[in-house]
Every structure is written in C-alpha cells, then in structure tokens.
C-alpha cells in the first residue's frame, strides 16, 4: 500500500477509536428520539378526527355534558407551586442528617441559615396572603 493511504487509514483508525463511543451514543440517541416522534405521529391522537363521536370520551355512551377539561381557580396552582418549592428544598436535610455528627456545630449553623432563608420566604408568602384561601384570588 502507498504510504499516504496507510497514513489516512491510521488517522481514521485513531479518530474512530476516540469517537466511536460518542458516535454510537449519538446514533442511538437521535435514532430513538426520532423513532419516538414518528411513533407518536403515527399512533398519537389526531386533533381533527373525522367523526365527531370519535372525539368523545366514550364513543358509544351517553353524550358528554360540558368540557372534559374543567378550569380550576388559580389558588390551586398557587398552593401547588408553593408546595413544590418548600417540599423540594427539604432535600438538603437528608445529606445533612446523614452526616450530622461529622458536620457538628458548623453544620448545624449552616443548616439554620438555610432554614432561616426558607423561613423568610415563608413569612413573605404568608403576609402576602398567598396561604389565605378566602382572599387568595383577588
């Protein structure tokens, strides 16, 4: 083989060696993602069904009364959002609790600062009336 070909082959070999895993991952990733999109296009519910009855929750049952999607008052969203916030922040208590003895007083003070910040947020939410069910959606 001419030496140039050998060089090119060697180069290709090195590149493939380095990048093959990432190519495989990319190929799988984009292939599967594309497949899922195609599947959802083929089998997914269509917006415009031909027959009106097809759109009903029970095709051969009683006629539906009103909309399936009810509108909720905004206060439900508000409570849910606040719940998510305060709920997820608690996650930091777990590693702290596990390492409580090693962290000692310093760790306790840090945790108190953390809780203090959350508490400031809580006071603000409370004073703003976001927890008051009656006056919430003004």
């Amino acid at each position: 083989m001419p030496w140039k070909t050998v060089c090119v082959l060697k180069l290709i070999h090195t590149v493939m060696d380095l990048y093959l895993p990432i190519f495989v991952i990319l190929a799988i990733a984009s292939g599967l993602a594309g497949l899922i999109v195609v599947i959802s296009i083929v089998f997914g519910p269509r917006k415009r069904a031909q027959v009106k009855a097809k759109l009903q929750p029970y095709e051969s049952g009683m006629n539906a009364i009103g909309q399936g999607q009810r509108r909720f008052p905004v206060r439900f969203y508000l409570i849910a959002v606040l719940f998510i916030l305060f709920d997820v922040e608690v996650i930091f208590f777990y590693p702290w609790a596990v390492a409580f003895r090693q962290l000692g007083l310093y760790g306790l003070i840090q945790m108190l600062v953390f809780v203090g910040i959350l508490f400031a947020g809580y006071i603000w939410v409370w004073k703003k009336g976001a927890l008051d069910w009656e006056t919430m959606d003004k």
């Binding site: 990319l26 990733a29 599967l32 969203y77 959002v81 998510i84 709920d87 996650i91 930091f92 590693p95």
Partner: protein, 100 residues
C-alpha cells in the same frame, strides 16, 4: 459495554428527546416539560458518572440541580398561568406581539 455506558446512553437519549421536544412542541407547558426532561437527563448522567468515579460528588450535584429546577418550575408555571389568564392560550405561536 460496561453498565455505566448504558446509563449514559439512556441519559443521552432522554436529553435528545428533551431537545427535540423543545424544538417541535408549540405548547408552553409541553416545552417546559421537555426542558425538565433535559435537566433530568443530566441528573441521570451525574449519578452514572458518580458511580464511574466511585465518589459521591455527582450525587450531590443532582440535589442542586433538582432544587434549582424546582425554583424554575415555580416561576415558570406562574408565568404560564399568568399568560393564560390574559390571553386564554399557552400556544407559543400566539406570542407574536413583539416582532421586527
């Protein structure tokens, strides 16, 4: 392939689905769900790599990403609800006031 590579591949797939979702969806909530998928793909990768390196750092990062994502969810959902209340739609194609 060693098992960690499978997990990383899975996380890459989830990430790709998330990116595709953001690019193809038109509903603000669905776009937002796709973004969450991207963040959680990163979380999965962090956990997998933490195992690869045999240390806990990666798992710790997941906590940070999760809590930050929660804060983002709160603000994002509040914005989407507010927009829905003014214009009765969460379709991003309806956001066309600003153009030029």
């Amino acid at each position: 392939m060693n098992p960690i590579n499978f997990i990383v591949a899975l996380s890459a797939i989830l990430f790709a689905i998330g990116v595709l979702g953001v690019l193809t969806r038109r509903n603000a909530i669905l776009i937002f769900m796709s973004v969450e998928l991207m963040l959680n793909a990163a979380n999965l990768a962090f956990v997998a790599f933490a195992r690869k390196w045999g240390e806990l750092d990666g798992q710790m990062f997941v906590f940070f990403v999760m809590t930050v994502a929660a804060a983002e969810v709160a603000v994002g959902l509040a914005l989407i609800v507010t927009i829905f209340r003014t214009r009765r739609s969460t379709d991003v194609d309806d956001l066309s006031q600003l153009k030029g």
